[in-house]
Symmetry: C2
Amino acid sequence: MFVIRIVLNMKNIIKPTLLDFAILGLIQNQPLSGYRIRKLFEQTALSNYSSSPGTIYPALKRMEQLGLIEKGVIKDSKKSPFQITSKGISILTSWFVKPIEKEDVEKRIDELLLRFAFMETLVDKKQKLLFLTTFSDYLSRYIKELKQHYHQQANEMPLHGKLALQHGVDTAMVTLKWCKKALIEIN
Amino acid sequence: MFVIRIVLNMKNIIKPTLLDFAILGLIQNQPLSGYRIRKLFEQTALSNYSSSPGTIYPALKRMEQLGLIEKGVIKDSKKSPFQITSKGISILTSWFVKPIEKEDVEKRIDELLLRFAFMETLVDKKQKLLFLTTFSDYLSRYIKELKQHYHQQANEMPLHGKLALQHGVDTAMVTLKWCKKALIEIN
DNA sequence: GTCGACATGTAAATTGTTACATGATTTA
DNA sequence: TAAATCATGTAACAATTTACATGTCGAC
């Protein structure tokens, strides 16, 4: 039996990776060369993202082809660092304001933190507050779930399992506290 | 110019992925089918690891070929869940007792927690204590570094940058506290 | 007898890692 | 002038995601 597979590879749907967003976030304010980006990734430790050339340079090429970044020319210099395009800004902004989901809070805290870290200039105060309150709400619910799970299962769980789960609760709680703090600072 | 590239693809050096270790950890005590493993990954939420069939089944095949797991046969049942082999146990154990490095604490906390969560039965108390104390030590140093970084750079940092960094400090500190608690519980 | 859960897989595309390779410029 | 750092890439490989595909079994 023959199956004709129609691939809907819509080129207008751009789905950058976390690494792509991290790069976009870094260059949103000032142009940076691939090398500078790598160094920032190494140093700031904010990132789990690899800074190896085999990661950064292909990513830059990819994003240039997608029109998210472009090579800028600097007078009196042979350097041509990458700068963000308006398309890049719009993609980055829509990442910032994308509604937070349950799963984000349970599995992708890092991504949420990255979004927050870079959203300073591109979104307004209202959006920032919405981000933090939604984040808080999902965190509260998640913590409740974890605690419930703990109390129901604690008897049958091995010690190390309990402790690992406890770590999950602890970090979720401290993140919740952090949200409250951040809400105050933003105001 | 011709270059003869000698590829040292030593087959005796097995480097399982985190997903592999998570699976090994799950089946170390009881055999599980691929499906059961997937469900556990979905439910326990302990894991960021994907539970899609395209992830789990190839991983199981890989590990079976490496001799880390094998299909066990259950009487009165057509099911043949995977069980860990002695080779699997030894690989898993050496992962547990692998010395913790600075980078692990700074970038791979998740992996450390996973190691801890599964090491209960396969390593002795001394190793567990060593694990936690080393973890603590690196965490303390890391927190010091982060705080130093914060105080040096805080003036020039944008608000969101400061807050994100603060979150890093907060979670590192809560993890340190967790280590102390766990040390007491283990004793 | 259909729906949902159980159960296991494959294929293509994408991503990321590791290792190699090269050359310019600065600094000691 | 040698070493270190700046700077940019490629190639081979390994791993993951997404989507497709199939079949069984029990419940209602």
